[in-house]
Amino acid sequence: MDVDALYQEIILDHYKKPHGAGLREDFDTEVHHVNPTCGDEITLRVHLDGDTVADVSYAAQGCSISQASASVLNDLVVGHSVEEGMTVLGSFTELMQGKGKVEPDEDVLEDGVAFAGVAQFPARVKCALLAWMAWKDAVAQAVTEKEDA
């Protein structure tokens, strides 16, 4: 269990300069997720433009892993279709729950491959997934609202 496998350079970079951080006013739905075991929190807003994720804005309190993963999430889903985003979510979740045995696909996950090492630290998997679970929840709500409207 090499701690450098966990804290990849890419992760520390995202942590220090998170992409798309902050809460922006244009949004369809907002969710607040908490990781009760460690207390990490995220407030996350999703703005859809038709089928496209126009923006994901967020305020996150938590460790480097959870903050960096919100930043990477922002990179990976904004500007893409909801469906594409869900595919990435699927790959990312699979990687996280793979106990270090899943080979990440860099074409899909881009900077997200840096999280491969997290899968070897069971206690930190939830940190990496916090933003993604919040995003899934917010998107699902947004889609439902659009359908109902």
């Binding site: 090499d2 701690v3 804290y7 220090k16 207390g39 309190q61 460790c63 903050q67 930190r124």
Partner: protein, 417 residues
């Protein structure tokens, strides 16, 4: 001051009694265990007592008339004697075995409600530094009964703020429940003042001594509290056992918490009468092997001498407080001087989240806790969501504190903080 001077026993020799302290972790690093406020390690004598019990004397207690049943009963009840002696209980019948401190506190909250000793309009007073286990049971009791929960706040230093004691503890107060030593801030509560005030208005006093009994010489016969809760696993004993001590006359007045097993006097389908304390509060098969282990833990602590344990805790805490404050950007949440202070030190390291601190330290074999330490309200008081916490016990050395400090400096560098 070095711990060697302050400690009345040989710490290095004591360490050899704790098998886990010889553990090698990933990278063949030695374990530096600084998480004793979370749970303590166990000496070989405790492990052996449990093992021997299962290997030779295992039987159910009270109900068995055969030889191994008698041996098990003697061992179990003998442990009650030991615990009673250890805390200065006037009578062994005042020692109730529970599963942990949390059950002891919940037991009290439940039976006070059931007995009608707390009802609508009554008030219960706790404090903002409590462990969740001394908050939630009282919130639940208030919900069930319509009583009101009130609490002492904290000073910026992290001590109880008693300035409003006269408006907090009043004729409406039925129970005051307070931690003796905070598991997060480390501060020691001014029990004498609180107990005197509570008793003056006729309120019962419950003391959560989960962090006190492991560290301090305790004498319940002079403490003045009515009920005291603590837990085995923090005082060298096994998991799965806790203790509720109570004044006998009070216990004798209270109804049972759980029903079943040997807590009865007689049972018909229509009606049950209950055994006197402590049996009344011990439903079902008790934690037999765990009591045996706790008895061995108490023997170990007594052999070291609780004055010596307390002196060591004080010395190592003072040393750690000093060394930690050498680190730029490190902020101690709680009293920063070793005055009326237990051995848990919670802190923030600017720019590094506590989980990352703990992870980096772990990569060097140093075990600390990160999170809210089951004391969310106390964290909220200081505007933080979580902290890192280093906590010490009778086997902690200055070298381990030095390793912590080096690890923290490395952590700062690692995260560029």
């Amino acid at each position: 001051m070095t711990t060697a001077e302050a400690t009345g026993y040989d710490v290095e020799q004591v360490r050899r009694d704790f098998p886990v302290l010889a553990r090698r972790l990933a990278g063949d690093l030695p374990l530096v265990y600084l998480d004793s406020a979370n749970t303590s390690q166990k000496p070989a004598s405790v492990i052996a007592a449990i093992e021997e019990h299962y290997r030779l004397h295992n039987a159910n207690v009270a109900r068995a008339m055969h030889q191994i049943g008698a041996e098990a009963t003697e061992a179990f009840e003998g442990a009650r004697d030991k615990v009673a002696g250890f805390i200065g209980a006037p009578s062994r019948d005042e020692v109730v075995f529970t599963k942990n401190a949390s059950e002891a506190l919940n037991l009290v909250a439940r039976v006070l409600g059931d007995a009608g000793r707390v009802g609508a309009g009554d008030e219960i007073v706790i404090t903002q530094l409590e462990h969740h286990s001394n908050i939630v049971p009282w919130q639940q009791l208030c919900q069930r009964t319509g009583a009101t929960l009130r609490w002492f706040g904290l000073t910026p230093e992290g001590r109880l703020d008693l300035s409003d004691i006269d408006s907090l503890i009043t004729e409406r107060t039925k129970v005051v429940s307070v931690a003796w030593v905070s598991n997060m801030l480390g501060s020691v509560s001014p029990l004498a003042t609180i107990i005197a005030k509570a008793h003056a208005v006729g309120a019962l006093v419950v003391v959560d001594a989960s962090q006190a009994v492991p560290q301090l010489p305790v004498d319940v016969s002079t403490l003045g509290a009515d009920l005291v809760a603590f837990t085995g696993h923090k005082m060298l004993g096994p998991t799965g056992i806790g203790v509720l001590w109570g004044r006998y006359e009070l216990l004798a007045e209270l109804p049972p918490f759980m029903g079943g097993g040997e807590m009865i006097e007689t049972v018909t389908m229509e009606r049950t009468t209950y055994a006197p304390p402590p049996a009344r509060f011990e439903a079902g098969t008790p934690p037999i092997a765990q009591a045996v282990g706790l008895g061995a833990a108490v023997d170990y602590l007594s052999a070291l001498g609780m004055e010596n344990v307390a002196a060591h805790e004080h010395a190592i805490t003072a040393y750690a407080l000093g060394r930690l404050q050498e680190i730029d950007g490190l902020r101690i949440v709680g009293p920063s001087e070793a005055v009326d202070r237990g051995g848990a030190i919670s802190f923030e390291l600017a720019g590094v989240h506590p989980h990352d601190v703990a992870q980096l330290l772990d990569s060097r074999g140093i075990a600390v806790r990160a999170g809210n330490h089951c004391a969310k309200p106390a964290h909220a008081c200081f505007g933080v969501q979580s902290t890192s916490r280093a906590s010490f016990y009778l086997y902690t050395t200055e070298q381990e504190v030095d390793a912590l400090v080096d690890g923290l400096l490395h952590t700062k560098k690692y995260f560029g903080a």
